[in-house]
Symmetry: C2
Subunit: 168 residues, 2 copies
Amino acid sequence: MLIREASESDLEEFVPLFRSIVEAGETYAYPEGLSEEEIRGLWFERPPGRTTVAVDEAGALLGSAKMGPNRPGRGSHVGTASFMVGADARGRGVGRALAEDMITWHRAQGYDGIQFNAVVETNTTAVRLWQELGFTVLATVPRAFDSRAHGRVGLHVMYLPLDGEDPT
Amino acid sequence: MLIREASESDLEEFVPLFRSIVEAGETYAYPEGLSEEEIRGLWFERPPGRTTVAVDEAGALLGSAKMGPNRPGRGSHVGTASFMVGADARGRGVGRALAEDMITWHRAQGYDGIQFNAVVETNTTAVRLWQELGFTVLATVPRAFDSRAHGRVGLHVMYLPLDGEDPT
């Protein structure tokens, strides 16, 4: 598996992955039925943000992450990120590899911390992974996500402080 | 004082109010130096959102609120809102009047709750007002706002559950 910066040519393979995850209705509050251009605008970040992809040995897309400032202006020293891993690629460490690269990038950029704004509490695989990487749940907004399988469940606000040292 | 829906003709008076509050550097993480068009895009909501203004007897702008779904798709049953009150109009109940109207609107629209994502902890007047209106602090993201006067201070995530009953 390789993690690299996303390029325009990754969009075609990413669009069906994005749509299948949104339509599954368990992890993201993006609207359904977005056009390719809208997905590009939502996921393919420009500086100061960044989008990465995980690909296999043959170059096929396994997953993607996007990251950057959580807020502009006087909030831009705290980062954020989002992740999508294709259904066929789960359980192979793709999310962890994307997330470790994401944390390294935030440290190198000098961010003060990383905030996840909306982690679905029933997405226990993701919650456990973020906790293993050092994130803690600061709060859970009750009933804030309408899960297809579970109905209205909480959204975690999660946070990882960064000490400013770049370990690379 | 009158609270009414904002119209295009309110933009000209709102722009300097927005800029002075952002440049003061104590309450909002919007970038400085935004154009009038950018301010329109950020503050003047289209349905399902809504923007209101508070005006005095002579029609002069005292403050404004914007509101709507906090997230799209499977998160759109939780609302959010932002408020700006001009420096000359503070201490006259303008923020409270805008907020009470905002809560009434969310109830009437059937929202499940209202989430404030980023209330600066040193903005104690606002924090106290939201608490008086029933909001609680779910969490404080540490150091997430770079206050001009206080340096890096926390951002509160605040929440008000709505019982679904419309009291109007």
